[in-house]
Each structure stands twice: as C-alpha cells, then as structure tokens.
Amino acid sequence: MLVTLCCLMLQAIPPNVILVKGAVPGASDSSTPLPEGGAVRERAYENGYFGLTYPLPADWTENVLGPPPSDGGSYVLSTLIPSEKVTGAGIAPIRGSVLISAQDLFFNENPATNAKEVVAYVRGRLPRSQSVERAPAEVRIGGRTFTRLDYGAPIAGLHWSLLATDVRCHAVEFVFMARDTATLNGLVAGLAKTKWSDENSVPVCVADYAVPANVVTRVEPLFPVRRFNSIPVRLIIDLEGRVRHVHVISAFPDQTTAITQALLQWRFKPYVVDGKPREIETGLEFGSTPRHTASR
C-alpha cells in the first residue's frame, strides 16, 4: 500500500525546474531574516535582513530571479527592468536595468573591506572598453551615505551608476544601467525613496570573532562526504555567548547539517562593549579550500 501511494505521487519531471542542486544556502531556523530572503512585494523590493524597502520605478518590474549565493558570499538580491521588455513590445533596445546585490565582506574574494573600497576596486578593474564618468565619491541619498561611481561604455552607448553602502558588514550595491544619462540620473534619484530600518536593532557585526581566544567550547562538524568546496558561514552569538542562529551561505545539504549541528554547540566569550554584552554577528569558513585566512 505504501509503495502504491508513493508511486501514485510520481509524475513527469516538470520542465525548467532545478531539482538537482549544487551548493545552496541553509539556516538553523526559518524566522531569522537572511540576506537572500528578500522579494518584490507590492511594487517594492523588501529585504528584512538588510532592512531596506526599495520602491520599484514606475512601470518597471522584476526580471528573473538571480542565482544562489556564491561560496564567496556574493548575492544577487533582485534585478529590475522596464515593463515593456516583459510585454515584448517591439524590438527596441531595453532602456535600462537595476541590479541590487550584496557582498559579504567577511568572505570577499578581493581585499575590499567596506563599500567605499568595493567601489574603488570596481573602478580599478573597469575593462578597457569602459571609462569613468563620475569618479568615486561619497554621496548622501535619502539620508544614507553611499559611495557612487559612474562609468560608461561609449562604444555600446550604455551608462552605469554604482552606489554601494555598508549594511551589517556587507556592501549592498545598487547598479543602475541606462542608455541615457537622464534615465540613469532618474534611477539614482529614485534611490532616495528607499526606506532603511534602524541598524541599532540588529546584531553588531564583528569580523573574525570565532578565533581560539574567543571560543570557549568548540565542536567539530563531522562531514560524511569529502568534498573540496569553500563553505562560508555566518552566525549570531547571543548575550551569553551561545550561538543563536547559523546561516550556511553555500554548502551541500549534508555539509549544512553537519556544520549547523556542530556550531549550535559552540560557546563563545560574550562580546562586551562599555561593560555591556552585545549580540553579535560574525563569520567563519569551513571546507578544504577556504578562500580566506582569519586575519584580513
């Protein structure tokens, strides 16, 4: 009977669905917001982890979803395009796009440690066919500080504006693209409508806190299968030094299980500021080929 019930549920494989996945994110609970947990709702991109609500420009819509987080802690949060692209009106070139992304600075594959340095790194590696149109500079938009870089590809007739801001030890990036600078500046101006949550309500981000000097109890994860992928992990440590939340950014399911089970048993010295313990968020890396050393 059980076999019959089981098999009656099987059916043709649905098209265009990824059922066999590689390394994917995982978390110890479903209530704590995650960087990849944002979505477009009621014409705004909302992300509870980064505490942002970005209203979509008028007559724009979300493009397809992005890839899973990388093993270097990079996220594609949302991509937006003008609605006429979706309706397939004519064959006119698409007039612009918005890419919202984030880089976990604990696992960055380049030396940048904050949003300003991320932008400087981008500027230093623009391809030959692109040129700077506005040098990197700090700007205030909607009461928040960004580092802005404008660049363009004259041969393609395309312009970009990169605006990066620091949130919870991530560089959150808005990359606006347009065929003309008027549209580009309009998109940049629209960033002022973004709502940001109070960052005092989230854990303090502390790099490299999981070093031996701070770890009171350490339990090693037992990996059933030997692989060679890098596994970046973020964890939230509560006021008493216990691990409250584990976010495995990129791993195979058995690795996520092993790491989560182990880390939830770790004990840290509480992080104290001005004599008061604080809840913190930190990162560490597992895997045979970690990309980063403890000190940066």
Binding site: C7, Q11, L65, G72, R95, R125, S129
Partner: protein, 421 residues
C-alpha cells in the same frame, strides 16, 4: 602543435589522429573497422565521426553519423526520435531513476544511457536483442526525464591542460570586482581537490581521464583507466551486462607489449596525446562582416560583460612536452569555472561539485565554425544561444540585459565577432 619539437612528436600526433579516426567493431575484424572492442553498448563507432565539425577534433557535424551507426554491420537498433540525419550527434542521460516506470526525483541518476547495442551485429554472434535491449527513450521523453549532450570540441585542449591553477584562481579573484552578479567557482577533482577542467561541467581532471571515460562510455571500449565494460545504471543495480554480449577479454584497449615505440601506447593514451597536441582554432580578422565589425564586436563583447566568464586568454605554464605548449597564449574565451546558468539550461545532472544548473564556461574559440550550440545542441542560432543564458537562477541574466540594451546594429557586430572566432 606549432613546431615539431621534440622531433618525433609529429609521428605521435599523426598516429594519434589515425586512431582517433579509426572505426571500431567488436573484434576489429570487419574490413574498414579495425578498431577493437566496440560495445556491448555504444553511442558511435569512431571518435572522429562525432568530433568532426569543422574538422577532426571538433563538435557535431551537419550529417549525423549515428543514424548509420545504429544499423551498421547488421545491428538491429531503433534510432531514437531525438537522433535525426541533420540534427546534432547526441548522447542521452536520464536525470532520475525510474520507480515503477515513473521518474523519481528522490533518486538522481544522470549517467549516460547508450543509444545502441551490438545485438545482431555480424561480429556479435550470440548477442541478440533477446539478451540486451536499448533503453526506453520514448518513455523517458514522454516523462521529460531525458537530457542530451553533444560532443565538446577538443581543439586547444593541451593549452587548457597546461594552464596553471594559480592563473585560474587569480582570474577568479579579479572577477570579483564585476557588477553583473557573476560569481563562479571551480569543479574539483574528488581525489585531491585540485581544479578539474574538461567536459561540459568541468568534471574531468586530465585529458587521459577524459579520453578513457569517453572511450568506455561512448564506444564501449574498456581500457586501462576504465577497465570494465560499462552497463547501464539500471543494469549496474541489478546483475550487470548480459555475459553473452561481453565478447572480449578486458581491458580491450591497453598497452601493447609486443610493439615498440609509438605502437606500444594504448589508444586511450594516444587519444589524450591527440587532444593535447591539437592546435587551437585561429580566429579570422575579416570574416564575417569585415575587420571593423569584428573589432567593434569584440569591444562590445567586453563592455557588456560577456568577457567576465568568457575570459579572453590565459598564459600556459612551462611545458615539459613541447615548446608549442610552453608559456603559450591560450585565447580560449573561458574562465574554466562552473557557473549557475538557470532553469532554461539546467539539466538536473550533477557531476563533481557542479549541480544541476551549473556548467563550465564553454570555450568560445572555434564557435564560428560550429553548427550546433549549447551543451545539448538545441539551437543553431547564436541569438537563441545568447538568450538562453538568461533565466531564473542564472548568473548571466544581467549580461543578457546589457546585450538587449544594444542597438540592433551593435548586436550584429557582437555576432560577427563570435562568428569570427
């Protein structure tokens, strides 16, 4: 290979090419089919028959040899509907095992399901369709539990093999400054964790493993790297291949102890040598569209971000084999990383650390001479191939948006540039 250095290397290459072109039969006794060890299951009878476009070592040709392979020498194979006279050469895989005839997502498979058997061939006495049968491709197609792969071209493979890992890792780090949402990784050899680089998912570490596996999987020839005859995945779970169809001692391809010099080498070793010494494609400066269009297309290709994954070039390591591979410029247009390509291109087959939607950036050198594009040869239209890079979960989506922001004339320049490679 640019130079006959060392002086005997050309003899090795020519011998290797001859073997690559050789047609196999079960015992090597059929005139014109001197290769030994075909089957019991196979996809084609010759490496060069499938790796043929535009020349030996390439990709799928315009006329599919598999329709002849199916019935050659008295074989009684039914040609599956996805194999047509002018369609691409293909191998087929079932992403999932079947449970009671229905694909079961809880049981991933992904292994190659050879199209044909040697049953009823004139040189397979005793092995009939009673003993061995083809997989049920019709059922698999009806239930969308089948994917395809076309031959990957092997031009310039020696250059790829000789790129130092540090170069690849440095390129990965340099890519991290992109604002396109692209963040690849490497597939790694399961034994020692080093970067693997051959195959559609970069699942194979070296050319010899690549050659040995292909010889065994695609032509059914057991060899010193893959020493047993290969059953289907379902046969592997049961009692294996029917003994009556296993007609040769194994491994069928091996070192020839009674020979000297070049003849001593096994076919597999020589296949690897052929690929290693096979020159890379030479791009055209003028065709199609003229030099101005090609140059402009190259710059556009770079400016919109294609070049992030399709890295233009690497310099190889010093070579102990030949000066042609020594500190050489490999203009391959690939970072050799695996990237998420989204739902449109996903095949639900995992290989190494590559998941069901991750593929190695296909080297674009020679793409101008190819007929069929993408891993399964689904299109002959470059624009369609570009469009397929954008779908839910793909790292290439933003780059495709940039491409779609180009004026139509500039899109044509990009196509001309690609066709010039």
């Amino acid at each position: 290979m640019l130079a006959n250095n060392p002086t005997t290397i050309l003899d090795f290459f020519n011998d290797a090419k001859d073997r690559f072109e050789e047609v196999d039969s079960v015992f090597g006794t059929i005139p014109g089919e001197p290769g030994f060890g075909l089957g019991p299951r196979f996809n084609s009878r010759s490496c060069a028959a499938c790796h043929a476009q535009p020349t030996v070592g390439g990709s799928a040709p315009g006329h599919n040899p598999q329709v002849v392979d199916a019935i050659a020498d008295g074989a009684h194979n039914i040609v599956p509907t996805f194999i047509t006279p002018t369609g691409p050469v293909r191998e087929a895989r079932f992403p999932f095992f079947f449970t009671a005839g229905v694909p079961d997502p809880s049981r991933p498979d992904g292994s190659v399901q050879d199209l044909f058997t040697i049953a009823n061939r004139s040189d397979a006495v005793g092995c009939s369709t009673v003993a061995i049968s083809q997989p049920d491709f019709a059922n698999a197609q009806a239930q969308n539990n089948i994917i395809f792969r076309i031959p990957t071209p092997v031009f310039g493979a020696g250059l790829i093999e000789n790129i130092e890992e540090t170069s690849l890792l440095n390129n990965l780090a340099a890519q991290s400054g992109n604002t396109l949402g692209i963040h690849g990784t490497f597939n790694r050899n399961g034994n020692d964790g080093t970067i693997s680089r051959f195959g559609w998912k970069a699942q194979n570490k070296s050319l010899e493993i690549f050659a040995g596996e292909a010889y065994n999987v695609e032509m059914g020839v057991s060899n010193e790297l893959f020493t047993q005859e290969r059953p289907l995945s379902t046969e592997e779970l049961a009692s294996g291949l029917p003994p009556i169809c296993k007609l040769n001692a194994t491994p069928e391809d091996h070192t020839n102890f009674n020979s000297t010099a070049i003849d001593t080498m096994s076919d597999t070793v020589q296949f690897a040598m052929f690929m290693r010494l096979l020159a890379a494609p030479v791009p055209s400066n003028t065709t199609p569209g003229g030099s101005g269009s090609i140059v402009r297309g190259n710059k556009l290709f770079e400016s919109i971000g294609c070049i992030v994954c399709h890295t233009e070039q690497f310099t190889t390591n010093p070579s102990s084999i030949t000066t042609s591979l020594h500190n050489a410029n490999a203009l391959l247009f690939s970072d050799l990383e695996i990237h998420h390509m989204g739902t449109t291109l996903a095949d639900n087959v995992s290989q190494g650390t590559a998941g069901g939607d991750q593929f190695r950036t296909a080297p674009l050198w020679g793409v101008g001479q190819r007929i069929f594009f993408l891993h399964d040869g689904r299109t002959t239209d470059l624009l369609a191939a570009i469009a397929a890079h954008s779908s839910s979960g793909s790292e290439a989506t933003q780059t495709v948006v940039n491409f779609n922001a180009l004026a139509p004339g500039d899109k044509q320049h990009v196509l001309n540039f690609l066709r010039s490679l």
